[in-house]
Symmetry: C2
Subunit: 394 residues, 2 copies
C-alpha cells in the first residue's frame, strides 16, 4: 500500500491553533483580564423555536414504528428540497426538483464535488481565501493558481482572460474579506467561465447577509450561470446550524460536457459515498422556511447584522480602511500604523483583550489585514468595539 503523497503538499494549518495558543498563554499570565473573542466564524445564538419544535416532532417520528424513517433519498427528502426550491423562487431563480441536493454542509460538498472533475484541471482561487478550497485540491494533486484580491480591487478580483483555469472558486459575500460581488461583476465571471469552458464553484454560505439589491444572492440570478456553475449553500449561518449540519448544493441540468452531466455524476457520487442527511435534521432545516421559522431566523440575522454595523461604524469612526460589515458578518480591516497581521493580533490582545483572526493566515495578500466577526454576543461586541476605539483613537 502507498499513501497519497499529495497530502505532504498541504501546509499544516496552524492559524486557529496558533490563535488559541497565544490566547491561552495570555490568559494564563493575566487571569484577571476578560478576553473578548471575535475570531471564529461560529454562531452563538441558539436554534430558533420553530426549528426546535420541528426537531422534537421528528425525534418523536423516529420513536414510533408507523412514522420511523430508515434510509432516506440520497439527495434529500422532497419536503426539504421543495422548500429550498421555494426559497430560490423568491429571488427569481427557477430550479428543477432534481437540481437540488441536500448535504451535511457546504464544506463537505465543496470538497467532495471534486470527485467528479478530472485531476488535470487547473484551479483558480482568490488570495486571501478560505483554506479548504486550496487544500482539497492539493490533496488530489491538482494545480492551484491564485487571483490577487487586494485593496486596489476592493478584495474582489475580476477575470483575467490571459489566465486559463478549469475550476474557479468564488465565495460571495466572501470569507474572510466580507466583500461581495455585484450582479454585473458576477456576470463578467460567468461570461469568462463559459468562454473558457470552466466551472465556477460558487460558495453562497453567507448569502443571507445580503440586503443590497445590486448584489447577487445566488449565482443563478446571472444569465448564463446554469451552463457553468455549481452553487453551495448552508443552514449554518442563516439558521445557526454549525453544530446541526445541513446544507445544499445546486447543480443545473445544463452543466454538461461531451455527453457527461455534472448533475448525474454527482448523484452517482453521492449514492456511492453518502447515505443522506439525518431525517431529524432535514425536518429541522425545513422549518427554517416556514413563515414563522423565517420570521424568527430574520430576528437572529438582524442581531448579527447589528453587531456587524457596530464594528463597521467603529472602523469608520477611526478612519480604518475595511471591506465587509455590510452584507456580510465579517469585517476585514487594514491593520493600523502599517502593522503586520500577527503584530496587530498581539497588540489588540495585549492592550484591549480582543481576539480576531490575522489575515496573513488566509494567504499572502492577507498580510497586514485582520478579520473580526459579527457572530459574538451583542454584549461582547459592544464591549470589544468600545475597547478598540479607546485603544486606537488618536
Amino acid at each position: 500500500m502507498n499513501f497519497n503523497l499529495n497530502f505532504n503538499n498541504i501546509a499544516e494549518s496552524y492559524l486557529f491553533a496558533e490563535v488559541a495558543d497565544r490566547v491561552a498563554k495570555y490568559t494564563k499570565a493575566n487571569p484577571d483580564k476578560k478576553v473578548l473573542k471575535l475570531g471564529i466564524g461560529d454562531v452563538t445564538l441558539p436554534l430558533v423555536p420553530e426549528v426546535i419544535k420541528a426537531l422534537h416532532s421528528a425525534v418523536d417520528d423516529m420513536g414510533k414504528a408507523e412514522t420511523f424513517k430508515g434510509y432516506g433519498p440520497y439527495e434529500g427528502y422532497s419536503f426539504l428540497r421543495d422548500s429550498i426550491r421555494g426559497y430560490y423562487k423568491k429571488i427569481g431563480v427557477a430550479l428543477e426538483d432534481n437540481e437540488i441536493f441536500v448535504s451535511d454542509g457546504a464544506k463537505s460538498d465543496l470538497g467532495n464535488i471534486l470527485d467528479i472533475f478530472s485531476e488535470n484541471n487547473t484551479v483558480l482561487v482568490p488570495d486571501p481565501v478560505y483554506p479548504v478550497y486550496v487544500d482539497t485540491n492539493l490533496m488530489a494533486g491538482r494545480k492551484v493558481i491564485f487571483a490577487d484580491a487586494n485593496e486596489g480591487n476592493g478584495f474582489l478580483p475580476m477575470p483575467d482572460y490571459s489566465v486559463n483555469a478549469d475550476i474557479i472558486y468564488i465565495c460571495s459575500p466572501n470569507n474572510p474579506t466580507g466583500a461581495a460581488y455585484t450582479k454585473e461583476q458576477l456576470k463578467e465571471w460567468v461570461d469568462y467561465a463559459n468562454k473558457k469552458n470552466a466551472v465556477i464553484l460558487y460558495d453562497a454560505a453567507y448569502e443571507c447577509f445580503i440586503t443590497d439589491k445590486t448584489l447577487a444572492r445566488s449565482i443563478f440570478e446571472i444569465d448564463g450561470a446554469k451552463t457553468c456553475a455549481v452553487e453551495f449553500c448552508s443552514f449554518s449561518k442563516i439558521a445557526g446550524f454549525t453544530g446541526t449540519r445541513c446544507g445544499y448544493t445546486v447543480i443545473p441540468n445544463e452543466l454538461k460536457k461531451d455527453g457527461n452531466s455534472a448533475n448525474k455524476m454527482w448523484l452517482r457520487r453521492q449514492s456511492t459515498k453518502f447515505n443522506g442527511v439525518p431525517y431529524i435534521v432535514q425536518k429541522g432545516a425545513a422549518a427554517v422556511f416556514s413563515d414563522e421559522g423565517m420570521k424568527q431566523i430574520q430576528q437572529n440575522l438582524a442581531y448579527y447584522k447589528r453587531n456587524a454595523k457596530l464594528i463597521a461604524d467603529c472602523m469608520d469612526e477611526l478612519g480604518i480602511w475595511y471591506t465587509g460589515g455590510k452584507n456580510s458578518p465579517y469585517i476585514w480591516l487594514k491593520c493600523p500604523d502599517g502593522m503586520k497581521s500577527w503584530e496587530f493580533f498581539d497588540y489588540l490582545l495585549h492592550n484591549a483583550q480582543v481576539v480576531g483572526t490575522p489575515g496573513a493566515g488566509f494567504g499572502k495578500n492577507g498580510e497586514g489585514y485582520f478579520r473580526l466577526t459579527a457572530f459574538g454576543s451583542e454584549e461582547v461586541t459592544k464591549e470589544a468595539v468600545s475597547r478598540i476605539k479607546a485603544l486606537l483613537r488618536k
Copy 2:
C-alpha cells in the same frame, strides 16, 4: 474543465431499481396479492426509548444559549468516543482516544478513506461484494481485482500469496452472504496484509449480530491487525440508525508507512472536507452504550436474530444450502433446482409473493444465489417463511 472520466467505468447499478420495477409491475397486475418484502437491508424497528430520550434532551440543549453547540470536534465529541472505546474494551480491544473517529456512517468513511491512499494501489475485493467497495475505487481510477467467494470456500475466500494487493476489503459478517470469518481465518488475512504491506479496510457494520465466540467482533481482536487495518462500524444495524446517520472508524496509530501516519492523514482529510456529525445525533448514539440503552438495543437485535433463525430453519427444513442466518441478518441461499438468481426472483415473486435480492446483482459468483434479510417485521417474516415452505416443499 474536464470531468473525471473514470465515472464512465462504473456499471450503472440497476439492482434495486430493477427489483423495484419488477415488483411494481407485478403489484399493478395483481392488486389483490399481498407482497412480502425481505429484500432491502434496512431496519424496521423504531429507535429505542433511551435513544429517543437522549435525542430530545439534545434538541433542548440546542434551543438554549447556555447549552447550544456550534461547530464540534471533527473527530466527534469525547462523550461518544469514550463510549465507543468502552464498547471495544468489553471485547478486549484497547484503543487510544485519538484512534476513534465519529462519522455520518460506515458507507461515507469506506468511500472517503480512499482519499489518503495512492491511486496506484491495487484493490482486492471478494466477489460477490457490496458494490460500494468496487465503485468508489473505479471512480478514482484504481485497479480492482477479485477474490472468489463460492460454495467451495463457504463464501469466505482466504489469502492467495501469489496475488499482490495493496488495499483489501473484508466485510464480516458479510453483506450479502452473511458468512463470517473465524478469528483464525482473520489471522491469516492479517498475516498476509502485514507480509504484503497491504492495508485491510474492515467493514464491521454487522458485528452486533455475532454470538459465536470463535468469530471476531473486531479485526483488532487479531494480533498484528493494528499495523495493517482500519475498521469501519456503524450505528445503523445495532441501533436502527439507517435514517439517523452515525458511524465510527478506527485507525490505529501504528498504521504508518515511510513516516506517514494513516491516523494523522485521516484527521487532516476530515478536518478539510467534513465538519462533524450533528451534536444531537451524537447524543443519541451515546445513549446506545448506556446500561438501559444497551438492554433495549439487545431486545431489538434479538427480534432480528429470531427472524434470521426462522428463515435459516426454513432452509434447513427444505434442504437448501445457505450461508449466514446465524451471526448475521442475511441468509444467502442457493437457488433451488439450479435456477438462476433472477429466475428464482421471479419464481418467488409470482408464486409466493416474496421479494428478495438476486445474488447475481452482487457479482459473477452471486449468480444462482439469493439474499433474504431478517430486517422485516416478525409478522412478515413468519408469513414469508410459511409461503416459501409451501412453495418449495417437494
